[in-house]
């Protein structure tokens, strides 16, 4: 044993075994870089010589109706996702119920709204006035349907309800991912079912729920463009209104693309932070030891 220690501190011994390690030449990396660069040059070149008027892009980037459009897109996304997550949570809890009727109602909701295309749901909600001219509870109130089923309301219902059907599956798998012992420990402390769910199960389920719901939110930003067909004034509808008049089609579509990139970047950043928050107790990221 002592002889080994002596040997390794011996310079001659070291020199004998310490060869330098050659840097590996990464051919693949350079090749890929060369190809990508070439393609990028082609694309940039195409747009430079192409008949695109960058002045127009710049002019409309902050045009009032474009800004209103992107704000409407964001508003529709947020409200639809809020509704979707709420419905999703309710449906997920209903699916876990011991009541047969409640459970099957949830299953039917999920089946139905995942089967009917969102575009179709948009058109149906928007055109409900055709079959129900008024909404009324006799003796209490009566409102013409056209006042209720505005493009905004129709879009929120269509997106929110169908999103709920998808999100319920995500939430359900999140709830199931939490160990059964957690609910038992909470119960044994005397927590009610509601407290157990709110304080113990859901916070842990969030680790599983947040990434896919984040993806779905980003998807929703883009889905909302469908609402342009029922005249909801989101960004693509606004851009179309402009280019139908001035014929600068590509320029305005580029303006839209720019704003979608901005919104999605912000959302991705937010998602990253939320994920980090719900992962805080993992051994590798936790700072519990050093926290005050």
């Amino acid at each position: 044993m002592s002889s080994i220690v002596k040997q390794s501190s011996d310079d001659a011994f070291k020199d004998k075994y310490h060869y330098p390690i050659a840097t590996k030449f990464r051919y693949g990396r350079y090749l890929a870089a060369a190809i990508i660069l070439f393609i990028a040059i082609l694309i940039v070149h195409a747009f430079v010589v192409g008949k695109i008027d960058w002045g127009v892009v710049r002019e409309y980037l902050f045009a009032r109706s474009i800004l209103t459009g992107i704000v409407n897109t964001v508003v529709l996304t947020i409200i639809s996702m809020f509704l979707g997550i709420s419905f999703g949570l309710i449906a997920a809890l209903m699916r876990g119920s011991s009541n047969l009727v409640v459970r099957n109602t949830a299953l039917f909701y999920i089946f139905f709204f995942r089967s009917v295309p969102v575009l179709l749901q948009l058109l149906i909600w928007y055109n409900l006035a055709l079959i129900f001219p008024t909404i009324a509870i006799p003796g209490l109130f009566s409102i013409p349907m056209t006042e209720v089923a505005t493009p905004f309301v129709a879009a929120v219902l269509a997106f929110g309800i169908s999103q709920g059907a998808y999100t319920s599956e995500v939430i359900r798998s999140g709830l199931l991912s939490v160990d059964r012992g957690q609910a038992e420990a909470a119960k044994s402390l005397g927590m009610t079912k509601g407290q157990t769910l709110r304080r113990i199960i859901i916070p842990q389920a969030m680790r599983v729920i947040v990434p896919p719901v984040g993806n779905e939110t980003i998807g929703m930003v883009k889905y909302t463009s469908l609402a342009s067909i029922i005249q909801y004034r989101e960004i693509i509808y606004s851009a179309q209104t402009i280019y139908f008049a001035n014929a600068q089609v590509i320029e305005l579509l580029f303006v839209c693309a720019f704003w979608y990139l901005v919104v999605v970047s912000i959302l991705s950043f937010g998602q990253m932070h939320i994920e980090r928050y719900y992962n805080r107790s993992s051994r590798d990221t936790a700072k519990g030891e050093t926290k005050k």
Partner: protein, 254 residues
């Protein structure tokens, strides 16, 4: 003196499986009762029925004179509401084999969760009590760690402190040391010994025969969902009457 826990002819079926097959047992205040028996004999089931984590199929369990999980009205048992059932559980502490600490909360947050949200204790008061309990289980410097930063033995000691924070009148332990590496068993048993000596009423399912001999007032041997034999700890271990008890003890001592 009426017993703190009265288990009266209790049956528990899981479909065709008879997990409890007519169990009767009394546990008095301040007593430490250890339950031993082979795997599948119904030890966990009995413990879980006492704090209503499982509903019994037949019979009656009373803790401190209250029927667990039911209310007797006109000779009929009516299931308790979630709220009342929760209140009953809050008076019974339970320690699990797998610790079941809340991983998203720090140690101190685990300890104050029950007091602040179930009993309505003020934050500061709950924190003071929690600090004392952590001291008692020898973990005051871990107050702000997360459970997965602790060893198994430390986690189980936190779990015991969490149950104690509710000031339960009865503590249930389901094989609290079975998931631990051998060198960590001692520290948990040490804490439990302390509780026993300070007069807590405890029902402990365990395979630690040495611990049972030293700490238990009584030992209950279960097999096939029934209590085969019970008696003063030292007497039962030294001189088991039933062959099944004898065989089991021979097997675990081997």
């Amino acid at each position: 003196m009426t017993p703190l826990v009265q288990i009266m002819d209790v049956y528990k079926n899981y479909g065709p499986v008879r997990a409890l097959n007519g169990v009767s047992l009394d546990v008095f205040k301040g007593e430490v009762v250890c339950i031993i028996g082979p795997s599948g004999s119904g030890k966990s089931t009995m413990l879980r029925c006492i704090n209503n984590l499982e509903k019994i199929s037949r019979g009656l369990i009373k803790v401190d004179g209250e029927i667990i999980g039911y209310k007797l009205v006109d000779g009929m048992l009516h299931e308790l509401s979630d709220k009342l059932a929760s209140r009953q559980r809050s008076k019974i502490g339970m320690v699990f084999q797998q610790f079941n600490l809340f991983p998203h909360k720090t140690v101190i947050e685990n300890l104050i969760e029950g007091p602040t949200h179930v009993k309505g204790t003020k934050q500061q008061k709950a924190r003071d009590t929690a600090a004392k309990l952590l001291n008692q289980v020898g973990l005051n410097e871990k107050a702000h760690s997360y459970p997965n930063q602790l060893s198994g033995g430390q986690q189980q000691r936190v779990a015991i402190a969490r149950a104690l924070a509710m000031e339960p009148e009865l503590m249930l332990f389901d094989e609290p040391t079975s998931a631990l590496d051998p060198e960590l068993v001692g520290e948990v048993l040490q804490v439990m010994r302390g509780l026993a000596n300070s007069g807590h009423t405890m029902i402990v399912v365990t395979h630690e025969i040495g611990f049972a001999r030293e700490v238990a007032d009584r030992i209950v041997f279960m097999d096939d969902g029934m209590i085969v034999e019970e008696g003063i700890a030292k007497e039962l271990l030294a001189d088991p009457k039933h062959t099944r008890t004898q065989n089991f003890l021979t097997a675990v001592r081997a």
